[in-house]
Subunit: 384 residues, 2 copies
């Protein structure tokens, strides 16, 4: 992966851009192309567009092999003595001087102690709050889209395993039962995780929410699953190899749901279609969000656009960018950014009411020159 | 969990201590007692020892229920308008003013933009580099020790599953085979992960390293496992419920190992015993480390203490504190801190040489008033 950093060039009026973080920070991982548990330094030199790493001796060999940096220095190159914060700042200042950098833009969450240490050494440090790297990261290369595609394939197998459990379930005393045991949110979630693990994917959270739980889009769900109620399954795994994410939601009902739930499902499928139709370069995330609101409002259902205080109906945004982070730019929401080819976004309209349950259908698409390509290959079958 | 923050009181010469981070930061999780994916503010008020949270509306209800804070405010209490960094700083300054705080100590990695925003509003912000909260966190309450104990139980079942695979393996063409398929590091690792997952524990990494892989303590291992060679299995899972970690290592050989490996195993068991004997309040982490070095050096084996340039022998420290992070204070290493009752530490001596393989045995113990309690309940059987 070699990202296009030209936007960073035009943004910079400092000598360079510096990140001091571990690679759990996606901007760090993106700029360095390096994966490390402990913080390290990545300098983007605005003068020549080169990237330079400063890492501990422990990481040096791997950084030279694996990172995308033009050069890698190690602490011992600067006679660093472990343990002292002063020494760390002195070493970093020397490293910056070697690259003729005396003014820096840094991320908003750059560590204060490092910034103060550099300022004491007469290096200008300014925190940028424009999310410049996050904006650059929003546009994916073909290789990045392939990583997301691959994560989505694993995601589909995990959804299939969950759906199969629901299909095979029987009803006893008003609860779903599988293999003689109660089928719970926790149990379905575990099966999803195991399927992903077997495919070398990981996840922090999964939503398997039934009935009233499903009516709260932030509830991950718990306890027994019931027939004839909506069951929302939302899975957003990360590839352990590439670190890119996928995201998909399906809603199921084991047995006949209430008439309103069925109407909501059809309306939500229609809203998703309207959102997809609105996706093209030049359209904004807000346009796509509006397309969803239009469908719901025409059907007489509340939306946050129409009524900011509503607690039922369509009560979240339409989608978000996805990549190294689950939630990235652009946002498909009020004020959402203009879409560009290479943006990978989720489209996930939904309706919620504790009286009815929750319905959400989510696909993952990449914006193309002419519109979009749907990266999702999974059926939409509500009633199992 | 209500931590003893008296050390923070005596450390502070500012009005308060502020964290601006999500709960992936263990200091934030510890001080707030709250688990949230997005950054939020925790203020420790040095005047009265109270803790105050400032969170988004989305987190407000949960923060009031789940956090250990004395009060929880939400953004809307300060008429915060989403989207503007300026607004975020204005809101935070107002929140601090409400608590009569005009000078702050903050963690070394506190976000620069927030610090600069507060300084512009005449609030003093000083980054502390003494790891004050990390030092406080090193001493565990009984409840925290119980969380670690519970994670260790899950860990033992995972180790058992791995050991069982090795025991059941047969040898074909010089490789271990199980259920008709090659037994690899990856396969054993996956079984460990699945066992942990079924017990609601997670892990980022596991070491299952054979032969020359095992000779590098940082190699997680890959490829086929072989008989008559050392296989190091090091598991450090986290409870998904409590977020506390456990840690254990065992070394196995399927079939008779080389004579040297056997000697190393016995020596390492002896070194672990010597380390445990050295553990008591008032002893330092360095004392415990020295006890291990003494055993190895007396047997004529190289250690980093004796020869800082050695690449074989005992080439790492003896152990580390463990809790919300896998690696915490105190360190059982040169310069290691004085041990106190409530410190939970690993004791993990080992010997490494590509010609021989690697041997490491690791237990998890809590320092008590009179010595230590071993939290590990797992046999040490080298040859399977």
């Amino acid at each position: 992966m070699d990202p296009d950093l030209s936007e960073l060039d035009s943004f910079l009026d400092s000598d360079g851009y510096l990140i001091d973080d571990d690679s759990a920070d996606s901007d760090q991982r993106y700029l360095s192309g390096f994966d490390a548990h402990d913080p390290f330094f990545t300098l983007y030199d605005g003068e020549n567009g080169e990237t330079h790493l400063l890492v501990s001796g422990l990481e040096y060999g791997r950084a030279r092999k694996e990172s995308r940096a033009d050069s890698v220095s190690r602490y011992s190159d600067y006679d660093y003595q472990y343990g002292s914060t002063e020494e760390r700042h002195r070493m970093l200042a020397d490293f910056l001087a070697d690259h003729d950098v005396s003014s820096l833009a840094v991320p908003a969450r750059f560590p204060l102690a490092t910034a103060d240490g550099l300022r004491e050494r007469d290096i200008e440090v300014a925190a940028e709050t424009d999310d410049v790297l996050t904006t650059i990261r929003a546009v994916k290369t073909d290789a990045e889209v392939d990583h997301i595609r691959e994560a989505q394939r694993a995601n589909e197998r995990a959804m299939e395993r969950a759906e199969t459990l629901l299909r095979e379930a029987t009803v006893e005393d008003g609860l779903l039962v599988h293999d003689g045991r109660e089928l719970t949110s926790e149990r379905v979630r575990r099966e999803i995780e195991i399927e992903l693990l077997e495919r070398d994917h990981a996840l922090d959270e999964t939503i398997v929410a039934c009935g009233p739980d499903a009516a709260d889009p932030h509830d991950r769900g718990s306890g027994p699953l019931r027939p004839n109620e909506t069951i929302v399954i939302d899975i957003f795994p990360k590839s352990k190899e590439s670190n890119y994410h996928a995201d998909m939601t399906r809603t199921f009902s084991v047995g006949e749901p209430a008439e309103t739930a069925r109407e909501w499902y059809e309306l939500t499928a229609e809203a998703k279609g309207a959102a997809l139709d609105a996706i093209e370069p030049g359209a904004t995330g807000e346009d796509v969000h509006d397309a969803v609101c239009d469908v719901y409002e025409e059907a007489g259902l509340p939306t946050l656009r129409d009524d900011p205080s509503t607690e039922t109906g369509f009560i979240h945004s339409t989608g978000h960018g996805i990549g190294l982070d689950v939630h990235e730019l652009p946002r498909l929401a009020p004020g959402g950014e203009e879409l560009e080819p290479g943006h990978v976004i989720t489209v996930e309209p939904g309706l919620y009411d504790p009286e009815v349950g929750g319905v959400r259908i989510e696909d993952l698409v990449v914006v193309t020159e002419s519109g979009y390509e749907n990266l999702t290959d999974y059926p939409e079958e509500f009633v199992l």
